[in-house]
Symmetry: C3
Subunit: 203 residues, 3 copies
C-alpha cells in the first residue's frame, strides 16, 4: 500500500512541476527536468545528506517511468488539468504524509536524533518544491505562505510522541501520516497560514 | 586521448562560465567560482548522486590548474574572445560528447539501469551550465532553448543500442560520442530547437 | 575553545540568515530554514563533497538547538539588532576563521591536495551565505563585492606555508585563523574589495 501511495505522490509532484515549468515557457526537456526534480528532489537531498547512495530513484526505475508518463499526460491534457486539481491536491497531500514518514524512518535507521529525523522527513516532503522553485528562479513558495512544512513537522512530532507508548509501530506510522494530511487539509480549507512577523499580514 | 578531450572540454566550459560571470559584473573571485562550477558542476552532481566521493575534481589537481589558467586567460583576452568563439564552441561540443559517455560509464559501474545511466550522462554534460545559471540568478538556458540535453540523450540511446551488437565497446563509445557531437552541430547549424508546447514558437 | 567559537560562529551566521529572510518577507518557517542553511550550508556542502555522511550537523544536535534559539531571539529582538551589529560582525569573522581551518583539516584527513583543502576551507566558510542568497533569489553577495573568500584563501595559504616549518601544528592553526580574521577586519575597515575588471569600479 505504501508503494502505491508513493507512486500517487510522485504523480502529483511531477504534475505540479509540469504546471510551473509551462508557466515559465520552458521547452520539453526543461518541463521534464522540472517534473523530475519536483518529484524526486526531496528524497534525493535526504539520501545525499545521510549518505545513502546511489540515491533512491536511481535504484528503482519505476519512478522514472511514472514521472515521464505523468509529464507526457500533463502536457497533453494541460487545458483540462483544472478539472483534476482536487484529485491532484489530494494525491499531493497524501504524498507529503508518506514522504515525511519515509524521511523519519531513514533518519532512525541512520541512528539520528528525533529532531534531525523530523527535519529529514520535512526535507523529503518539501524540498522537491524548493528545488523546483529555485530552478524556475522564484523564491520557494514553501518559505512564504505555505503551511506545508508545518504539517510535516506536526506529523513528525506526533510520531515521536506516540512511538514511546505501547502502540504498534505500524499504527503510529499511519496516525502520524494522517496528522500531516489533516493539518494540511484544514489549513487549506480555513486558509490558515503561518504567522508572519510583518505588520501587514497579507504578503 | 580521452584525457586530452576532457581537458579541452574543461577549458571550454570554464571560459563559458567566465563570460557569463563578467556579464553579471562579478568580482574576480566570483568569476573564478562560476568558471569552476560550470566546468566541474555536472561531474560533481553525478559523483554525489552515485556516492563516488570525494568527487572527481578533488582527486586530480590538474583540473583545478586548468580552470584557474583558463579563467585568467579568458579575463585577460576577453576583448578578443569573440575570435575564438568557433573553437570554443567546438571544444564545448566535443566536451559534452565525452562527458555524456563518462557519465554513462560511471552509471554502468554502479550497476544502474540504462535509462538512469543516460540520465547520469546528461547530468554530467549539462548540469555545470545549470548550476552556473542558478548562481547567476537566471532560469537555466538548457531548459529553455537548447538542443544540448537532447544531443546527450540521443548519444546515450545510441550507446545502449549498439553495445548489444557484436561491436568493440571502444568503437561503440566513439560512435555514441560522435552522435552527441553531430546532433549538436546540426542543431546549431540549422537552428533546430526542441518543440515547445506554446502557440508562439519564439520564446 | 574551538567548540565555543564554532557555536558563536553558528549564532552569527544564523542571525545573518534571519535578517535576510525578514527582508524577503518570509514566514516563520522560511526564516528558520534560511537561518539554518546559512549556518550549516557551507559545512554540509563540504561534507557531501568529501563523502563524510551523515553530514556533521546531523550528528550533533547542539547546532540545531543553537540555530533555533538564535532565530527566535533574532526575530523577537529584530528592532534592536542594529546595536549588536558590531558583535555579530566579530562573531561572524571569527567564525569564518575557524570554519576555514575546519575545512582544511577535513580535506587533509581525506588525503586531498593542499589547494583542494584550501578550496574546502573556503567552501565551509562561504557557501552558507551562497546558498542563503540563492534561496532568497539573489546573486550571491560573496561573488560581487566581498573580500570574504579572499580572507579564507589567504588564511589557507598561510597554513600550508607554516605547517612545513618546525612550528607546533596547534600554533599554525591559530596563526592561520588570525590571518583570516585580520584580513577580513582590515578589508572592511579600509573598504578594500577585490579588484573588478570593469571600467567603473563601483558596481
Amino acid at each position: 500500500m505504501f508503494y502505491t501511495i508513493d507512486i500517487l505522490g510522485t504523480i502529483a509532484f511531477a504534475i505540479s512541476g509540469v504546471l510551473v515549468a509551462i508557466d515559465k515557457k520552458m521547452d520539453l526537456f526543461g518541463i521534464l527536468i522540472i517534473a523530475f526534480v519536483t518529484a524526486v528532489g526531496g528524497g534525493t537531498l535526504r539520501d545525499i545528506l545521510i549518505g545513502e547512495t546511489p540515491v533512491s530513484w536511481m535504484k528503482d526505475i519505476t519512478f522514472t517511468y511514472v514521472i515521464i508518463a505523468s509529464t507526457v499526460l500533463a502536457i497533453l491534457l494541460r487545458s483540462k488539468i483544472n478539472y483534476l486539481r482536487t484529485s491532484l491536491f489530494l494525491f499531493d497531500t497524501i504524498g507529503i504524509g508518506l514522504y515525511t514518514l519515509i524521511g523519519i524512518e531513514k533518519g532512525l535507521n541512520a541512528g539520528l536524533h528525533p529532531i534531525i529525523c523530523i527535519a529529514l522527513g520535512t526535507i523529503t516532503a518539501s524540498f522537491g518544491g524548493v528545488i523546483r522553485d529555485i530552478l524556475c528562479n522564484e523564491i520557494p513558495v514553501v518559505f512564504r505562505k505555505e503551511i506545508y512544512a508545518t504539517a510535516c513537522i506536526l506529523g513528525g512530532v506526533t510520531y515521536f510522541l506516540l512511538i514511546k507508548l505501547p502502540i504498534k509501530s505500524n499504527l503510529v506510522f499511519i496516525i502520524a501520516g494522517i496528522v500531516v494530511i489533516v493539518t494540511r487539509l484544514l489549513a487549506v480549507k480555513f486558509k490558515i497560514a503561518l504567522p508572519t512577523i510583518y505588520s501587514h499580514n497579507k504578503n
